[in-house]
């Protein structure tokens, strides 16, 4: 690895942007970096670390304020076009023409890059084979699932066989199966063609598989090296903690996370995985006077990542948690959401196929499934945005499609895209949603102030919400949905595109809400987030494949195999097993 030639050399790169409010944002504060040929290099870091800016500089789309940048042996500032001719850049939202077919999109990008005749005949079959898009050549790109769109975007980028591939969060909003397939393509290209790849990602398991990881924070490089080397920094600091009987893993997680000396805590198979600061290992872990059983475990890349960030992060946004309430809520409460035999057809396509489940007060319930499994359709029906074709559904005792305004006032909804009024400021958005739910006067003011404080939005009051960084948009959307203190919260992929740190803060809030008796229903593509749920349901092709606690789902997937798979492996195993059954039945 270390002796491979370099494909990208950056020396002291700096770049500052100016927001509309006039505020200067330093995206890159002196980055020096070397990327080697024929290998995968990953840029990881929280939102606003400067990952995207670095990729845009490397692709010659933006010029640096100072510093030098050499890509494929050329000075990017001097010869941006020459560099662009030899690299491939796939931005977060790749510009597919939604009304054109898969084939037409590919032809268009081939034309744009001057790839003709013989070369096309050579590369097209290979691209179609790798992406498995051959069956969908005539389908409009807009009708593809999120995963297939990304694969098509990748195919369009690869059409002229670049020397260096720049990928910006290629798997955001992509389900675990498609994510795995996408990475198989990338690794195949590295292996067989010696392609160099520089990827920015928020998925730390993706970074774990790269040859060289670069951890960025606030426009600077925090650490870099082979992932194993970075992971080793957390050696001896990682433990699995078992909580008292009856306490949900997320409640234990939230309390452990708030303890001093704790770098990270995430729920895992009913227990909590904890990373402790190296200097604090001697003290026993205890909550509310109870000492907890701990079992040392091998570190993961994510553990080391959190450890490195803990050392530089400002005051962690702590979410206050009340005393642990036993019973009354959780699986013992009354049923608030009841779905029975739900069916939704679009023409002769069955999007939701006889799905039944129920959720009790204070439960956190997860809807998981690949893109196009029917999660969002189920969600829209629950929220009363789409009529059901068959079956019954009750939310807080009412069918929201027919229920009056009063029933709807009891629920909060965060849509996939964090639907806010982009032109309006943070304050104006909050004001609007507060008034929409009937809050007035000083009550409204207090509630808005409290939420802005909770979500650390005070300093952004006058910024148009459209200009907020991704993580803050999500916070604002959640704050807007919580203004009226709803009993039931619907969150549709609310953490899509959020970094690991933002996701932990988000789940800390969800845990606090569920302890107050709020029922939460979520969809997510992050399988590790399923561990925060009391129960999850896995859907594929509109059908219910499995339902139960995260531990039960893992056991169900493991079958005879003894090693407990990760949630992600369990998910993939269950979906693939069912798909295999279906094709066998069809054959």
């Amino acid at each position: 690895m270390e002796d491979r030639p370099l494909t990208l050399v950056a020396r002291d790169l700096r770049k500052t942007f100016r927001r509309d409010t006039g505020e200067a944002v330093e995206a890159l504060a002196g980055i020096s970096l070397e990327v080697r040929k024929g290998a995968l290099t990953a840029l990881v870091g929280p939102d606003g670390a400067g990952k995207t800016t670095l990729l845009r500089l490397a692709s010659g789309l933006v010029a640096p304020d100072s510093g030098s940048l050499e890509v494929v042996g050329l000075d990017v500032s001097a010869e941006p076009q020459a560099v662009q001719d030899r690299i491939g850049y796939m931005p977060q939202r790749f510009g597919l023409y939604e009304d054109l077919s898969v084939q037409e999109n590919l032809d268009l990008y081939a034309d744009l890059h001057g790839v003709t005749g013989a070369r096309r005949a050579e590369i097209y079959p290979r691209l179609f084979e790798m992406t498995q898009l051959g069956r969908f050549k005539q389908r409009p790109a807009g009708k593809l699932s999120g995963g297939m769109k990304q694969k098509l975007g990748l195919a369009c980028t690869l059409v002229r066989a670049p020397e260096l591939l720049l990928l910006d969060e290629p798997t955001v909003g992509v389900d675990p199966l498609s994510r795995r397939e996408l990475w198989e393509i990338v690794f195949k290209l590295i292996r067989e063609d010696g392609l160099s790849v520089l990827v920015a990602t928020s998925y730390l398991d993706e970074a774990e598989r790269c040859a060289h990881a670069v951890l960025m924070h606030a426009g600077k490089i925090l650490a870099e090296g082979p992932p194993a080397e970075i992971t080793a920094k957390a050696e001896g600091c990682c433990f699995l903690v078992k909580g008292p009987q009856g306490l949900p893993a997320r409640s234990l997680q939230a309390r452990l996370f708030a303890l001093p000396g704790i770098v990270d805590a995430v729920p895992e198979a009913g227990r909590v995985r904890v990373v402790r600061q190296p200097g604090q290992l001697d003290t026993a872990l205890e909550i509310a006077g109870l000492s907890l059983d701990t079992e040392p475990v091998e570190p993961r890349f994510e553990d080391a990542f959190m450890m490195l960030f803990d050392s530089v992060a400002e005051e962690r946004a702590r979410v206050s948690h009340g005393t642990i309430v036993a019973g009354g809520s959780g699986p013992h409460g009354e049923t608030v959401v009841e779905v029975h035999d739900l069916v939704r057809m679009f023409g002769d396509f069955t999007a939701v196929d006889h799905v039944s489940f129920s959720v009790r007060r204070g439960e956190v319930y997860g809807l998981l499934g690949p893109n196009g499994a029917g999660k969002s359709t189920t969600f829209r029906m629950l929220c009363g945005l789409l009529p059901a074709t068959g079956g019954t559904l009750k939310v807080a005792g009412a069918d929201l499609l027919r229920a009056g305004a009063k029933a709807r006032a009891r629920l909060g909804y965060v849509a996939q895209k964090f639907s806010l009024y982009g032109q309006l400021t943070v304050d104006e958005n909050l004001e609007f949603f507060a008034s929409a739910y009937g809050l007035r006067g000083s009550g409204k003011k207090d509630r808005i102030r409290a939420l802005k404080n909770d979500f650390a939005l005070e300093n952004l009051s006058d910024l148009p919400s459209g200009q907020l960084p991704g993580g803050f948009k999500q916070r604002l959307a959640l704050a807007a949905a919580l203004l009226h203190e709803p009993d039931i919260l619907f969150l549709d992929e609310a953490t899509s595109g959020a970094d690991p740190i933002a996701r932990r803060q988000f789940w800390g809030r969800i845990t606090a809400l569920s302890e107050q008796g709020v029922t939460v229903i979520v969809t997510t593509h992050f399988m590790d987030e399923a561990e925060y749920c009391d129960r999850i349901i896995i859907l594929d092709a509109g059908k219910n494949l499995a339902e139960g606690t995260p531990l039960e789902i893992r056991q169900q997937a493991a079958m005879s195999d003894e090693t407990a798979p990760s949630m992600e492996e369990a998910f993939i195993a269950i979906v693939e097993r069912e798909r295999l059954k279906r094709t066998e039945k069809a054959a």
């Binding site: 829209r380 929220c383 009363g384 945005l385 789409l386 009529p387 009056g404 305004a405 009063k406 709807r408 006032a409 629920l411 909804y413 849509a415 996939q416 895209k417 639907s419 806010l420 009024y421 982009g422 032109q423 309006l424 104006e428 609007f432 949603f433 008034s435 929409a436 739910y437 009937g438 007035r440």
Partner: protein
């Protein structure tokens, strides 16, 4: 009831904020209507200021010379050549270098003196029927004037000159007078329909519309919350155009301001109803834009703005009846130019109420029941 009213006010406040926040979008609501009004006012006029023509004078008499002097003395007709045979002049007309050929017959003076119909032929370029028709009309009326004056002088009786196409046309009448007041309705309809349709489509695209449907708003409240801000914008634009008509074009206002605004408010309600209805059909901004264009063009053509609705085939006349712009143009012209009273415009006002009462509830219903 009060809660509902407060929710509507919340929606209106939000909508106005979204529309008016950005200085650019604020300017785009007032500047284009005024510009359009000025451009239409100057460009869309049927009055001709200059008519190039050729003269074929087969008579070469005092009378014919006097007629030509009268023609050219009007300042409208510029002679591009003089011939004795029509065939000689024809190529100039074919080439488009002149609009009209005026042929004075060989016995013009004699016939005139004898009191027999004196032949004058006005040949116009039929390829541009509108303009040449007007030029022909000008020529005819000047010749008729000439003949009448001549008749009075000589005391001769009977028909003097045998040209009579569009003799009624009055060169003093400015098209602008009837055009500019009609623009009050036309331009505000274009702007408000687009604004309404696009604002709903944008919310659909950005997902905020779902957020509204999930919140305790009823579809009717959302509908009113969208209609009122557009109405405010529409009334502002109409006032701006009215001011341009009054103080820039100096077209005297004959009627009651109150009647005019009552008519405008009803018209805007109907136009916005259409916009809301179109927006409920569209899934995104592009579709909303295309739908607006598809409807706006026929609305303008079938409104009596450019050609009188009475001349249209019966089937199209029925279509003009569901077109809010038909009534708006009738109302503005009647009130502005003729000083028409509320009572005589009642049928038009009621028609607008009916259009709004049909389109708005459909739109509100579609908000909720539109299937994706």
């Amino acid at each position: 009831m009060l809660a509902s009213l407060l929710r509507i006010l919340t929606l209106i406040r939000k909508e106005l904020l979204v529309i008016l926040k950005d200085p650019k979008s604020r300017a785009s609501l007032v500047v284009p209507p005024i510009l359009q009004c000025l451009i239409f006012g100057y460009a869309a006029t049927y009055d001709l200021n200059s008519v190039p023509y050729v003269l074929v004078d087969q008579d070469r008499s005092t009378a014919s010379i006097a007629l030509v002097a009268k023609l050219e003395g009007s300042g409208l007709f510029q002679r591009q050549g003089t011939f004795t045979q029509t065939e000689q002049a024809a190529p100039l007309l074919d080439a488009g270098r002149v609009m009209v050929i005026v042929v004075i017959g060989p016995r013009f003076e004699r016939d005139l003196q004898a009191g027999a119909p004196a032949p004058v032929q006005v040949i116009a370029d039929g390829r541009n029927s509108n303009t040449s028709g007007i030029a022909q009309g000008y020529a005819s009326s000047i010749i008729s004037d000439f003949a009448a004056a001549r008749q009075a002088e000589t005391g001769a009786k009977g028909a003097a000159v045998k040209v009579s196409t569009r003799a009624w046309f009055n060169p003093q009448l400015e098209t602008r007078w009837s055009m500019v007041p009609s623009l009050i309705g036309t331009i505000t309809m274009m702007m408000t329909m687009m604004l309404t349709a696009m604002s709903v489509a944008r919310e659909r695209e950005e997902g905020t519309f779902d957020q509204l449907l999930v919140a305790p708003f009823t579809p009717t409240e959302i509908m009113i919350g969208k209609a009122v801000p557009s109405m405010i914008v529409g009334i502002t634009q109409a006032s701006a155009i009215l001011l341009v008509a009054l103080f820039w074009f100096r077209i005297p206002f004959a009627g009651s301001v109150l009647t005019l605004y009552a008519g405008l408010a009803l018209f805007l309600a109907a136009a916005i109803g259409f916009g809301l209805f179109l927006s409920s059909l569209a899934g995104n901004m592009q579709q909303a834009m295309i739908l607006c264009f598809v409807f706006l063009m026929p609305f303008m053509l079938l409104s009596g703005l450019v050609s009188p609705t009475d001349n249209m085939p019966t089937a199209l006349q029925y279509l003009t009846m569901i077109n809010p712009l038909t009534y708006a143009i009738r109302i503005t012209r009647t009130v502005y130019l003729e000083g028409g009273q509320f009572a005589e415009l009642l049928p038009d006002m009621l028609a607008l109420v009916v259009i709004a009462a049909v389109t708005m509830p459909i739109a509100a219903w579609m908000f909720k029941h539109r299937l994706n």
